[in-house]
Symmetry: C2
């Protein structure tokens, strides 16, 4: 049973306020809650309807990113607590900058300048997924290398969607791993190669879920492949990320730094 | 030339603090800045190194999500302003809840409960991209339908990565559009279909970038396809999102609501 209903109210997508609410509430480990996001609350009528909805819920908490202070008024009038990201943070920024915030300046709506680049990056990641089109590796910002099921594809897609990075990914197959060194098509791009690895136990579990009781999923096979891949990574001093206990956000943040 | 260097310092990935900094600074439309994210600042040594780095930069602004208050101390000691999301928001939440925040409770590190679901959703979106495996449409949370280049694939991947939704996408080809109605494989899943559309001008521009001066990219062809698709959408009263001026985040937020 959830103690609290946490509403994330935004005049835009709600991505920022959801992220803030989750981070802040993670500091209250005994709190049980369900999260409800209400995006595009961008006029007085929608704000009032939102207030009515939330007021009917016992034990509600409301986080918001409402750029226009006027939209926050009905929440206060109804006696609802509101943790508004702009209200709590903008004044400190105003005084540091000696400038007044312009509410209407709000979010970078719609097609932000980097938007096309991010969509191009997604297409790039799909076109260079799993070793496809190796002749285009020279166009990549990063090339993720590792054995099957190490997390290359979701990571490449996340790097593209979140950061606009053109991330290719190349699987090291058992055939590749029996050779002396990395495949030739990768050797000309060493500065942009990034190794992904994980523990053999975790890899075996991931493969087991896909192909139960196969040789592919055996601990022995996983150990052999990971060992051979790590030998290649070491020889070329590639930056390596161990994805065993990491989310795709964490892997991506490490890769951006490497 | 950028007036300010904006640092986003986090003890974790930096996703939240980057999102907050961008949203807040969008309210200062005349501010020119470059954004530098410094993730995984999670001990005293790294905090000190970060302070040293930022202190050397003139006109720096620092946003942070540093769960442990002790890590914020060296910033203050060095006279650096710090807009810490937790510091500015947590006290209000504490008093509303009547509970004290536990800094060590911090972020949902690593494999959050929904992590596997999100990775499964990414694989699902890839397996059911562009009409692949229509026999599995019954497993989808949402099925995005629309003509070529309307934005189905990036949207499906974003819904999977960000929200763990199993989003399939199905292209309406010119052949499909010449028929009387939606393809049979879609008709059994009407409640989960969502139409994507955009203006013919925008579609023509997107197609032009891919196949210049083709019939596929002609305004006439785009108008014809979009008109036929919209007729299908209307007949079945499908929720429709016009993606013309929207980012993938905005499209996804609208689809979650629909």
């Amino acid at each position: 049973m959830n103690d609290y209903s946490v509403f994330c109210v935004s005049d835009h997508t709600g991505v920022t306020v959801e992220s803030v609410a989750k981070s802040v509430l993670a500091q209250f480990p005994h709190l049980e809650f369900s999260l409800i996001t209400l995006p595009f609350v961008d006029n007085a009528e929608k704000a009032q309807a939102t207030v009515t909805r939330i007021a009917a819920v016992p034990r509600a908490l409301t986080f918001s990113t409402l750029t226009d202070p006027a939209l926050r008024v009905p929440f206060r009038q109804a006696g609802l607590g509101l943790f508004d990201v702009f209200e709590l943070i903008a004044p400190a920024v105003e005084s540091a900058l000696g400038q007044i915030a312009t509410p209407s300046g709000g979010h970078t709506h719609g097609m932000a300048p980097d938007y096309e680049a991010r969509m191009d990056a997604v297409n790039f990641a799909l076109n260079l997924d799993d070793g496809l089109n190796p002749d285009r590796l020279g166009q990549a910002d990063l090339i993720l290398v590792g054995v099957s099921r190490v997390g290359k594809t979701p990571t490449a897609l996340y790097l593209a969607l979140q950061y606009g990075l053109r991330a290719a990914n190349y699987p090291l197959t058992p055939d590749d791993l029996e050779r002396d060194d990395l495949p030739a098509c990768l050797q000309s791009h060493l500065p942009r190669l990034r190794g992904l690895t994980l523990t053999a136990e975790r890899l075996a579990a991931l493969r087991q879920a896909r192909y139960p009781d196969s040789r592919y999923a055996s601990l022995e096979q996983c150990r052999m492949e990971l060992g051979a891949a790590e030998t290649f990574f070491k020889r070329h001093a590639l930056p390596v990320v161990d994805t065993t206990r990491m989310s795709v956000e964490e892997i991506a943040a490490h890769l951006r730094q490497s």
